[in-house]
């Protein structure tokens, strides 16, 4: 039983919260800007490497470098929007989806040019687990969970109580009506990209600190993140969190029933099942 908890459930939740941070970004873009953002995984990769750059250049500890990376990635995300996506706004959304596929490729190759393709790590050595009763946790896992919790709580509070958070929800809910109310479309878009960039960086960072940094890490995780977003219900932040946890757990538990190489297929199977049975997701999100 404890083995099950420590080696299946705990890693599943940690991985799941990493997916959740990514899925929130995907769900926000899907809900507010209304397109699937296929550069999201690579945005997370960029964030992870920017944190690494900050540790190297500024001499920060990894966790101190995280806010720097979140800020830089937020700017990066906004910059990508300004340079590329914005010009496609008046066109069918699917063109932006295609563009994002190319942006992902560009981000990846920039990371490969700057940092090379060898796996890198924020620090050396290993961290043995500490026992909390029968539960075995590593400090970085606790930190990952705490960070996810803090970011999600902050975001939910922002969306619930602040004027601009409500504007974002209004845009996601009913964009035409939001415009009739005088909500500044560009302002909400800008804000969305900042938030999405920062969260993507956090997601990439957590993935990096729990394993290693590789240039393909984000691309590999993207399918799971999308599945999490759709599972939770498109446009639903709390849905993305639940979806992320479900996908993370499902992937870890899948080895009990299928050969390990098919771990990556778990997310896909869940995605297809949810599209087939309940396309609006657990939390009744949008169906585009």
């Amino acid at each position: 039983m404890m083995e099950f908890l420590n080696f299946y459930v705990v890693p599943g939740i940690v991985t799941g919260s990493i997916y959740a941070l990514g899925a929130i970004g995907i769900t926000l873009i899907f809900g507010i800007l209304r397109f699937g953002h296929f550069a999201h995984g690579d945005l997370a990769t960029s964030g992870a490497y920017l944190a690494l750059g900050a540790t190297a250049l500024l001499g920060l500890t990894p966790w101190a470098a995280l806010p720097v990376a979140m800020l830089l990635t937020a700017l990066l995300a906004y910059g990508i929007h300004r340079l590329f996506y914005r010009h496609l706004e008046s066109r069918p959304k699917i063109l932006t989806v295609i563009a994002s596929l190319g942006i992902g490729m560009m981000l990846r190759s920039v990371v490969q040019v700057v940092w090379g393709v060898d796996p890198l790590a924020y620090g050396s050595g290993i961290a043995r687990a500490q026992a909390f009763g029968p539960l075995m946790l590593r400090p970085r896992e606790i930190a990952t969970l705490a960070l996810t919790l803090a970011l999600v709580a902050t975001l939910l509070a922002f969306l619930r109580y602040s004027k601009w958070g409500k504007a974002m929800r209004a845009m996601s809910d009913n964009p035409d009506l939001a415009r009739l109310c005088g909500v500044d479309n560009d302002g909400v878009t800008r804000l969305t990209w900042f938030i999405v960039g920062a969260l993507a960086a956090a997601s990439g960072f957590c993935l990096g600190i729990n394993t290693e940094l590789t240039t393909m890490m984000g691309w590999s995780a993207m399918l799971s993140m999308f599945a999490a977003a759709v599972l939770g219900g498109v446009g639903r932040v709390e849905g993305a969190v639940v979806g992320g946890l479900v996908i993370g757990l499902a992937e870890e538990l899948s080895v009990l029933v299928v050969p390990s190489p098919y771990k990556s297929a778990t997310a896909f199977v869940i995605l297809l099942a949810i599209l087939l049975l309940r396309p609006q997701g657990i939390f009744k999100g949008k169906v585009l």
Partner: protein, 244 residues
């Protein structure tokens, strides 16, 4: 002119003069003219495809206008963007999707006052006084309300910025007769609080009975105008919508 025009008022709050325009290349509006006086309920009726909703959307800057002019409160607002028009004092309630379904009633009203600065409590008090039902449901999601309540939320949202003119696009569509009368009563209350109302109605008979003045459009142009009673008594109109 009608009896109401005899009241002593300086000038109309809204003048739409010979407006032509539409969405794509085709013009739906083939020259529509109408006026709205302060504290007046004006209704636009007409058969399907007559351009009723389009005429209203033209006021709110949602339609490409090819020729003609729209003057609001003495200022030419032809070609303005919707958010500028909102700031100038016109609110618009679309026919469908006119609430934020995922947000609470209170948040819906808040969004209506998105452009306002400062304390909103007075505005909330005003709206909740007008719609006591909404106050009880203030924390419910708008999407969970009944159709009539949703319409109230939409109108309440539009009134948050204290507009001078309220545009309502078929507010009673799909409502039961009971709710329809309730909405009409709300319109009167709103008018009496000092706001002019221009609305498009499918239920011509009931609408003409309650409005101050009405316009009948057909194929994108004015056909008849007059007080509600005059129009109701016009045999041609009765033939057009009501009897047949």
């Amino acid at each position: 002119m009608s009896a109401t025009a005899a009241r002593d008022r300086p000038q109309p709050i809204l003048i739409m003069h010979q407006v032509r325009g539409g969405y794509g290349d085709a013009d739906i509006l083939q020259g529509v003219s109408l006026t709205v006086m302060p504290q007046e309920i004006v209704v636009i009726v007409g058969p399907n495809g007559a351009g009723k909703s389009t005429a209203m959307k033209a006021v709110f800057g949602l339609v490409r206008i090819r020729s003609g002019a729209i003057v609001f409160d003495g200022e030419d607002i032809t070609g303005w963007s919707p958010d500028r028009i909102v700031r100038r004092g016109i609110s618009y309630v679309p026919q469908v999707d006119n609430v934020f379904r995922e947000m609470t009633v209170h948040e819906n009203l808040e969004m209506g006052a998105f452009l306002a600065k400062g304390d909103l409590s007075a505005a909330f008090d005003r709206i909740y006084a007008l719609f006591p039902d909404l106050k009880a449901k203030r924390h419910a999601l708008a999407g969970d309300l009944s159709g009539g309540q949703r319409q109230m939320v939409a109108i309440g949202r539009a009134l948050m910025l204290e507009p001078q003119l309220l545009l309502l696009d078929e507010p009673t569509a799909g409502l039961s007769p009971k709710y329809m009368q309730q909405i009409f009563q709300i319109c009167r209350d709103v008018r009496d609080s000092g706001v002019s109302i221009l609305l498009v109605e499918q239920h011509a008979k009931q609408a003409l009975a309650f409005c101050d003045r009405g316009y009948v459009l057909a194929t994108g142009a004015n056909r008849h105008e007059g007080s509600g009673r005059e129009l109701l008594e016009n045999p041609e109109i009765a033939q057009m919508f009501l009897g047949g």
